[in-house]
């Protein structure tokens, strides 16, 4: 068990990823290696185009690397079928996006219920857990509202509740405060930090937000698709 405990949640080695822009092959990651342990709050920082989103996409199995190896909880992700990758995301990972990406026709509660619904959880259990998740982000009173009836901060709270409702091992958040004013962004960050501490959920946050960088336990800096720095935040 001691050996299992020491296994990093994410273990990436020499990740390489290229994108094609017309006829041009653009490198996005040029050999990124990192380990992320369970319970960490990792800020992935760097200028635009440095590869932050690409790294999160690879770690979240939304995309596949062109080179290198990637393990999640000890399991090699290379060669996993689409079905297994979908299953992994459904059960073990949560996602938060800069533009919230809620389903506009569903209420806040239904948006949070959705990951449980696709996982086949029964209605009553779904409702209970979704209600608790909304409560945890302070939005229980707005559960019947649709996204267009919520403020940006409230939408991101709903998105956070959706990412956490199925109790994933890790949440990957791409610029979660990027579309919010500083006060609202600060509230979301408070939530992330609190949930990380209270629940031990691992957070990987790609960000430009200095406040996120300051409060994360660890900061991974990317530049031109390479790791420029990796260390704890003082």
């Amino acid at each position: 068990m001691a050996g299992a405990a020491a296994e990093p949640l994410f273990a990436a080695r020499d990740l390489v990823k290229h994108y094609r822009l017309g006829r041009v092959r653009v490198p996005a990651l040029r050999g990124v290696s990192l380990d992320v342990s369970a319970g960490e709050l990792l800020a992935v920082v760097g200028p635009s185009g440095s590869g932050k989103t690409t790294l999160l996409n690879l770690l979240g199995t939304l995309d596949e690397p062109d080179g290198g190896t990637l393990r999640f909880a000890g399991d090699e992700l290379a060669g996993l079928s689409d079905r297994r990758r979908t299953e992994l995301r459904r059960r073990r990972l949560g996602f938060v996006f800069q533009t919230f990406n809620l389903v506009p026709v569903l209420s806040a509660l239904e948006n949070v219920e959705y990951p449980l619904w696709i996982a086949g959880v029964g209605r009553r259990e779904r409702r209970r857990r979704a209600g608790e998740a909304l409560d945890a982000v302070g939005l229980a009173a707005r559960s019947r509202h649709r996204p267009d009836q919520l403020s940006g901060g409230e939408r991101q709270r709903v998105a956070l509740a959706r990412a956490l409702v199925h109790e994933p091992a890790a949440v990957l958040a791409d610029e979660p405060t990027g579309n919010l004013d500083s006060v609202t962004g600060g509230e979301i960050l408070d939530l992330l930090v609190r949930l990380n501490r209270e629940r031990g959920t691992t957070f990987l946050v790609a960000t430009h937000d200095p406040e996120v960088m300051r409060r994360a336990g660890r900061r991974l800096t990317l530049r031109d698709g390479r790791v420029a720095a990796d260390g704890s935040v003082p």
Binding site: D82, R90, F97, V105, L106
Partner: protein
């Protein structure tokens, strides 16, 4: 939260587009329903006209008269029924049978003054025909008298075209000539009591009717060619056929029971033609609805690429995503089909209330009624059909949705 509920709400997000799609599906449904209603009414009307026009539901004939083919239409008197009145009593004793009447078929020449024309004639029992509901559409004069004429007082009812050819009308005399079963040429004079129409111009130039006794005297025979049978109201054809077959079994000489459809190639041709038209129109509707709604569904998918990418990112499987898009299409089919049924019902009532008539079809004499039959099974079938059509229309949008690359979809604006 259910798949159907989510799909319904997705349809509601762009109400105008959904309404247009529903109207396309509904219009297609109405087209199919009205066509099916008109064709069914036409079939029913034609069948009734043929049965009541003298063919009856069944014909009992000597098997040898058919010459080995049930589709053969001529009934040579050499193969006629001998003890036909006794046979008729037995037939009419069946509970399934309403009545039976005897016929003699004639081929010959008619002359009046200098005019001569070949004819196809039928010896009939007018009083029985009227009792059986057989109708003759008189154009002038009177119908054949109910009582068999005495020798020398023969009468004839000419089809209007034949009367024109001979230049005669009610009250005039014509001479009818025919070859007897013994090969002798026989002739008799008959007074024209009236003229009638068969409904078809070509037949009107050839046809005539005489009383059965006149036909037998012309052919010098006591035989009749066949017995025409009508069933009691509500008795299915299959049951009637079975009863008559049982009665005919073991008869000497052997008898055959021929259904009216076999004796009405015109009905079969019209039915095949209408069915061809129906399938052609159905195919056009199918293609139009598929193309139109497929485009709409594809637009709905393309507009939601980022949302669909998000759903995939948070763990929605390809099959689940396909089900969401497919379910939206099926809703369009069900709701559009139901709307089409409602509109089709109103249109059917409206058209029937207007009592419209259409010009006579080629070769026909009378205009035809534009009436539409109400078919519950057609309404249910249309909803099912439209649901299936929309499932076909969803193929491309579903394929686009399940093939999306998550990263690209998330970056879609």
């Amino acid at each position: 939260m259910t798949l159907a509920w989510i799909a319904l709400r997705n349809l509601a997000r762009n109400r105008r587009r959904t309404l247009l799609s529903l109207l396309v599906v509904a219009a297609g449904s109405v087209g199919i329903l009205l066509t099916a209603g008109f064709i069914t009414f036409s079939f029913q009307g034609l069948a009734e006209a043929i049965v009541r026009g003298g063919l009856g539901h069944f014909e009992i004939v000597r098997r040898s008269a058919l010459g080995g083919s049930a589709d053969r239409l001529d009934r040579p008197i050499e193969h006629g029924l001998e003890d036909w009145q006794r046979l008729r009593r037995r037939v009419e004793a069946l509970p399934e049978v309403a009545a039976a009447t005897a016929n003699v078929h004639l081929l010959g020449m008619a002359t009046a003054g200098q005019a001569t024309a070949s004819f196809v004639g039928l010896g009939v029992e007018p009083e029985r025909q009227r009792a059986m509901g057989f109708t003759t559409r008189l154009r002038a004069g009177e119908s054949l008298p109910p009582v068999p004429p005495l020798i020398g007082e023969e009468v004839v009812l000419l089809a209007s075209g034949l009367a024109d050819t001979l230049g005669v009308g009610p009250g005039d005399w014509v001479t009818l000539m025919a070859v007897t079963p013994h090969g002798m040429l026989n002739a008799l004079d008959a007074r024209v009591v009236g003229t009638y129409t068969t409904g078809l111009q070509d037949l009107d130039t050839r046809f005539l009717q005489v009383p059965l006794a006149t036909a037998q005297r012309l052919l010098e025979t006591p035989l009749v060619a066949d017995l025409v049978v009508t069933l009691e109201k509500g008795v299915p054809l299959e049951r009637g056929a079975a009863a008559l077959e049982r009665l005919a079994a073991g008869h000497d000489p052997p008898l055959a029971v021929v259904g009216w459809r076999q004796r009405a190639p015109y009905y079969r041709q019209v039915r095949d033609l209408y069915r061809g038209i129906f399938w052609f129109l159905g195919s056009v509707v199918f293609v139009l609805v598929v193309l139109s709604t497929s485009n709409t569904l594809l637009m709905a998918v393309m507009e939601r690429l980022r949302e669909l990418g998000t759903l995939r990112a948070i763990g929605t499987g390809r099959a689940q995503l396909a089900a969401i898009v497919l379910c939206e299409a099926l809703w369009l089919g069900v709701l559009g089909g139901a709307l089409g049924c409602l509109l089709g019902l109103l249109a059917t009532w409206g058209i029937n209330a207007l009592q419209l008539q259409m010009p006579p079809p080629p070769g026909a004499v009378d205009p035809i009624d534009l009436r539409l039959a109400l078919l519950p099974q057609a309404f249910a079938g249309t909803v099912l059909l439209m649901t299936a059509v929309l499932a076909v229309a969803a193929i491309v949008p579903v394929a686009r949705a399940v093939r999306l690359r998550i990263v690209e979809a998330l970056g879609h604006v």
